[in-house]
């Protein structure tokens, strides 16, 4: 089964081939939304740095920083890289890479005795 058949599309060559698709995807956000996301990212970065300097939060510093970092990462990937709006295959590829990295981290750090802190 070809990928096109798997995805319910017509094959690109041979009988029933689709004529040259210029790729068409979901509409991307406008400049105003990008600026809003940018401001959100700036605020999160400021919070990260502020949290770093607050002694009272030292016990929960690592989880807070990891959550904030993951939030920034997701905002950039979903909105600026358009994974929220583009074809799911792109997300699958990228998330596949991230899953491999996560596996690599766990295996390497567990095997060789590394730690996050």
């Amino acid at each position: 089964m070809t990928l096109a058949e798997y995805r319910g599309m017509k094959p690109a060559t041979g009988e029933g081939a689709v004529a040259a698709p210029a790729h068409r995807e979901g509409a991307h956000p406008g400049p105003a939304e990008y600026v809003k996301i940018g401001l959100t990212l700036a605020v999160i970065t400021a919070v990260e740095v502020a949290v770093y300097y607050i002694d009272a939060l030292s016990d929960v510093l690592i989880p807070i920083l990891i959550v904030l970092s993951a939030l920034k990462f997701s905002l950039v990937v979903l909105w600026f890289m358009h994974l929220k709006f583009d074809n799911r295959l792109f997300s699958t590829l990228f998330v596949g890479g991230l899953m491999l990295v996560a596996t690599l981290f766990v295996v390497v750090l567990a095997t060789l005795g590394g730690k996050l802190v």
């Binding site: 690109a12 940018g38 970065t45 920034k72 990462f73 600026f80 890479g97 690599l104 981290f105």
Partner: protein, 194 residues
């Protein structure tokens, strides 16, 4: 959104964009390995200087902010070309490249300061893993700046029209990836210390 006509593909997607995402997935592993090596070896140095002796968090925070804002200007450049705004495209491409140069300059300054404090690639395990990780990231930013400047020159010559918006989109994907790698490095390397 409509891009320049591409050859028919089995996926119905433009192969250039698909290839860029495959490349970025492979880059995840590349930087993941370097970050993993850093986390593994940073506190196994038998001699200083150590991270806590050198890191200047306020300075690095400004660098991180600059790179983050360059992602905003990059996506504004894409929005500009997609609506046929040539002036906006040139302004935002140039701004993004400028912010990228600022970031690399900051990194060069930081490397120089660390070297003056006695840290080199071969001083200890922290130095080796730190310089390799952040050095490769800086090299990626530098390549990104070169791509952006090339696009800027193309835009100035009128060779980057709405029909070629995919070029800007692909450059943007690379640039945003470099940014998200720094988001991770900033947290795991600079803010979370043993």
């Amino acid at each position: 959104m409509q891009h320049a006509p591409a050859l028919a593909t089995n996926t119905g997607l433009d192969n250039r964009k698909l290839l860029m995402w495959l490349f970025l997935a492979s880059e995840c592993l590349f930087f993941g390995s370097l970050i993993g090596a850093y986390l593994l070896y940073r506190d196994r140095s038998v001699a200083g200087p150590y991270p806590e002796d050198l890191f200047d968090i306020p300075f690095t925070s400004v660098s991180a902010f600059i790179l983050l804002m360059s992602s905003v200007t990059m996506v504004l450049a894409l929005a500009a070309i997609q609506r046929g705004d040539q002036h906006g495209l040139r302004v935002w491409l140039f701004t993004t490249a400028f912010l990228g140069i600022l970031f690399v300059s900051g990194q060069a300054f930081e490397f120089t300061e660390f070297n003056r404090e006695g840290l080199s690639l071969s001083t200890n395990l922290f130095g080796t893993t730190f310089f390799v990780l952040t050095g490769f990231h800086g090299a990626h930013v530098t390549v990104g700046v070169l791509i952006l400047m090339s696009l800027f020159v193309m835009a100035l010559r009128g060779r980057l029209t709405r029909a070629e918006s995919l070029h800007v989109e692909l450059a943007g994907l690379y640039w945003h990836f470099v940014d998200i790698v720094w988001i991770v490095i900033f947290t795991l390397v600079y803010l979370i210390q043993p």
